[in-house]
């Protein structure tokens, strides 16, 4: 591994994404990406007694599915990086308590999935592991309960609010095998733009997204047009607009090939999702479903995947703290 520029890392041996799996809930099933997910459920409880139990099942089943698809024996997978939004990351640790693989619970809010892929790539390129599994999940009902209001209260949502995705994505990364390759890592810094409105996460995270994106271009000497597509996840409609503006103000035009996973996963008009999707499960399921499939169909050869997270909790919002954002990017090439 070689450091390039300020904060990017070029892997000496590209890490292969040998398999992915995605499972989503009923609202995502009605969305435009439905056909790309491995499994889309009718019932957001998935037969469990609580939403938390359901979310744990999401991540457990997704990880099992990704490992099965990779054709790598579970005992040959040496590390697991997983995280979610619930307090103390219980969805991952409860869901994966029987997985029997050394486990790191990580938290990067909605950036968790790519955070895990960066750590996994470092572990593999650093020869600490050969096969690593990454996963993250979120659940609309459990997240609303924790971060906003209980669902049954019937509160109104402002136009800037985002809809937490019910779903989970998982990827198996390996030194060997075939699949799209992770070539460059650009972990992001925490950037606080002073936004305090927990109903406008896109605006809170866009500053961090711009910082990571522009740093990635400067570090690597690449331009936006070098990529077939640039995906952020999940800034939503407002954050996406802001990122395009912020990048343009620094001389980078990303309008042509940039999109956001939170924008892609729902139909804004039909599904009443306001500013789009969010949550750890958003970029995880969109990458594991849609983007990975596009690589398989050879429609993409080079993609920049950048996950963004709002690093707040329910207490910090109540105490009027501003929301620090973070964004982690990886370059994936066929």
């Amino acid at each position: 591994m070689k450091k390039v520029g300020n904060q990017s890392f070029l892997l000496s041996n590209p890490v292969k994404i040998v398999s992915t799996a995605s499972i989503v809930g009923p609202k995502e099933k009605e969305g435009p990406l439905c056909e790309f997910f491995d499994q889309a459920l009718e019932d957001e409880f998935w037969g469990e007694k609580s939403w938390e139990k359901a979310e744990s099942k999401f991540i457990k089943e997704t990880v099992n599915m990704a490992i099965a698809k990779s054709k790598i024996a579970q005992t040959d997978i040496e590390l697991c990086f997983a995280g979610d939004l619930l307090n103390q990351c219980i969805s991952s640790s409860f869901g994966l308590r029987e997985i029997n693989i050394p486990f790191f619970g990580i938290f990067g809010a909605c950036s968790t999935f790519v955070e895990g892929m960066i750590l996994a790539s470092m572990a593999i390129d650093g020869d600490f592991a050969t096969n690593v599994v990454c996963a993250s999940s979120s659940h609309f009902c459990s997240a609303e309960k924790q971060f906003r209001f209980p669902l049954e209260l019937g509160n109104q949502r402002p136009p800037s609010s985002q809809w937490t995705v019910t779903g989970s994505g998982s990827a198996v990364l390996s030194k060997n095998g075939t699949g799209p390759k992770i070539t460059i890592l650009t972990p992001g810094k925490i950037v606080d733009m002073g936004i305090k409105d927990a109903n406008n996460m896109g605006a809170a995270m866009a500053g961090a997204a711009a910082d990571t994106l522009l740093t990635h271009f400067k570090d690597t000497g690449r331009k936006p047009s070098d990529y077939d597509a640039i995906f952020s996840g999940d800034l939503g409609y407002i954050g996406k607009d802001i990122l395009i503006d912020l990048a343009a103000s620094k001389g980078y035009n990303i309008r042509a090939n940039y999109n956001d996973c939170g924008v892609l996963i729902f139909d804004k008009e039909k599904q009443d999702t306001h500013s789009g999707g969010s949550g750890c499960g958003c970029i995880a399921s969109v990458f594991s479903g849609y983007i990975y499939q596009m690589f398989q169909e050879k429609k993409y050869k080079k993609v920049l995947l950048m996950a963004t997270g709002a690093l707040m909790n329910s207490t910090s919002s109540q105490q009027g703290e501003s929301i620090p954002g973070i964004a982690h990017a990886i370059s994936i090439e066929a």
Partner: protein
């Protein structure tokens, strides 16, 4: 666009972010809140007409409205009313029920 400071950014974000439709929300709240209160008044007048004391009639109104909103919550209808009416459905006594029915759900 130039973002030199957090204040600049906040101003820019405010401009970018669509506002809630306040006039429409206020009208809906007024309408639905008014309907709920009218229902309460009708129950009250009906009880008095049937010879119930005033204080007991008030109790009956509370019981019935709280029951109604719990019932509609179970049918998944009340959250839709809440989304439409906002404070109009939550400021009247129907809100009380929400707390009970929610705690009943283990939330």
């Amino acid at each position: 666009m130039k973002v030199e400071s957090k204040e600049d950014y906040q101003k820019y974000v405010d401009k970018k972010t669509p506002n809630s439709p306040i006039l429409k929300n206020c009208f809906n709240a007024f309408l639905v809140g008014g309907i709920i209160c009218s229902i309460g008044q009708i129950i009250f007048e009906f009880c008095k007409m049937r010879g119930l004391e005033e204080s007991s009639s008030y109790t009956v109104v509370s019981i019935l409205l709280v029951f109604l909103s719990a019932f509609l919550t179970a049918l998944n209808i009340f959250n839709r009313i809440g989304k439409f009416a906002g404070a109009g459905s939550l400021v009247p006594i129907t809100r009380f029920c929400k707390f009970y029915s929610i705690s009943g759900n283990g939330i």
